[in-house]
Symmetry: C2
Subunit: 317 residues, 2 copies
């Protein structure tokens, strides 16, 4: 088994390949070609923490993947990152371990940002005036960074609750403008990405311009919410990464529970990838992509990383 550390992994995997791998993962997932059992979960009280075990196998792939990711919320008080994570790649021919990817959560960040790029590739309008980024954390930066591969637009408008973090926000090659409200952000942007742990809507329906695409990736568990549920009623396309998850606890779930939209309005990103006519059909439509994160992405990104690293290390199989 090869042991690989973050620096080596980061050097081996490039963004366009990651986006392509995640796009293919969504297609395969929605086509029922990825075995993705229920996520395993361990909860801790003292100190508070959550551990998630995501694993799966795309039929026909030579490897399967197990990811173990944790969030321990008192870690920052000790000067440590709250999140940790690693992925294991195993042979689907023998069950033997092939690689331990000690990526410290980087591959998860990458596959999450890649999903935003895939959503924009399929749903954003042709001409993007400016990219609106809500939030100023790691995902805010990575989402913007990866959007360079799906749009030539290099104008970004940023709003974040924490003004210091917003002021420090920078992504190579992008002109960044800070605004003091999400309403102002919505006025300037027709491609918006929300990347926060908010529990109440940050984007109001009346503020969103016709033709806007919004990717919401923050609501990845019960209680979280970034979008006005009314947006789902006015949107022409309500895309989700995984119908089951999004209707259970994604931003979509709030709109369905409020009976603003029927569950059958939701279409999986993988279904749009397979049949583009299910997505945006004109430049004045509002579209939404609600991303909760699926193990199929983890399988795809780890498989990609291992393929690249194996080549670099000259490992034969």
């Amino acid at each position: 088994m090869q042991i690989l550390h973050r620096a080596e992994i980061e050097a081996a995997v490039n963004a366009p390949d990651a986006i392509a791998a995640v796009e293919e993962a969504f297609r395969a997932y929605s086509a029922g070609q990825v075995e993705v059992p229920p996520v395993g979960h361990l909860a801790f009280k003292e100190p508070p923490g959550d551990v998630h075990i995501k694993y799966g196998h795309r039929r026909g792939d030579p490897s399967f993947v197990v990811k173990i990711a944790s969030g321990f919320y008192d870690n920052p008080q000790r000067g440590l990152s709250s999140s940790a994570g690693l992925m294991l790649v195993f042979s689907a021919e023998t069950g033997f371990p092939q690689a331990l990817l000690m990526d410290e959560g980087w591959l998860t960040d990458l596959r999450t940002a890649a999903a935003g790029a895939v959503a924009a590739r399929y749903l954003a309008p042709k001409n993007i005036s400016a990219i609106g980024i809500i939030g100023a954390g790691i995902q805010a930066r990575m989402q913007l960074d990866l959007l360079r591969h799906v749009t030539p637009c290099r104008e970004a408008v940023v709003w974040a609750r924490n003004p210091q973090r917003a002021a420090a926000f920078a992504v190579d090659g992008f002109r960044i403008r800070l605004v003091s409200s999400t309403a102002e952000l919505c006025r300037h942007c027709n491609l918006i990405v929300t990347t926060t742990p908010a529990t109440e809507p940050l984007v109001r329906a009346p503020d969103v311009q016709p033709g806007t695409h919004i990717t919401a990736m923050g609501a990845d568990g019960p209680g979280k919410q970034e979008l006005d549920p009314e947006l789902f009623a006015s949107a022409h396309v309500c895309a989700v990464d995984a119908r089951k998850q999004c209707l259970a606890y994604g931003d979509s779930s709030h709109a369905v529970r409020a009976e603003l939209v029927r569950a059958d309005k939701f279409v999986e990103l993988g279904e749009i990838i397979a049949n583009r006519s299910l997505g945006r059909t004109s430049d004045d439509q509002i579209t939404i992509a609600d991303l909760t994160g699926v193990a199929a992405q983890d399988v795809a990104i780890a498989t990609l990383a291992w393929a690249r690293l194996r080549d670099r290390r000259g490992v034969k199989f």
Copy 2:
């Protein structure tokens, strides 16, 4: 994170400590002190294989454990072991990975054999005439090897379907006698361990002498069976490692389904450890321990191994 290989792990963990750790694991499990979520499972068809992910945390322990174990049944055709496995130890304070135990399934074999020793410690009669071992594989050897720590008896009687494997059976310090039927084995032995993948009963109720204890550890999944279901009707104590599992697919399940015994007759080994009066109360009783394997054992054995290895490597925490 420390990476530890099989030889180093084998050298660091001794049998009496393993037995004590597994005994405590059963006690804690039955007392509801171990968080053990449902086992994760991935199934493969070409080539055929199964992957199980077992994980858990004993409340208050500084670590939690994830085990990934596989069986790929065509491996022997390629000169490889069908089973593979590794365990990961993480800090329950921070979620950070502490150790990767590349034990190749050895710790699972050890914790399984240790469970047999615990069962014998609590349920075997005082004076053991001879130990009967049914099967001649790795578990057959390890079960007998570990029983040396709970009984002074060094007489073993072995029966196995495969006469060549039976003839090659040897465990340091034990006199081994081969027999040609389980009936003959039962005549000589009042402590019997069944260690086979049988799907039909190997031990018949009329053959078993009064005072015998039988540990059955082979039936770890649907369709497997080693004991005559009638034995559960005549036994004074029907012990199980985990009530839920044993009644679902252990040897016990066949007896319950045949309505030979009521589900409320079964008592968990951990309950007997906490309250010895639930176990054997006289030397002429027949007792059974049905072992299916619980993640609490994996957690205990990995935690033990990591504690010993950490000391040896001088890792500070």
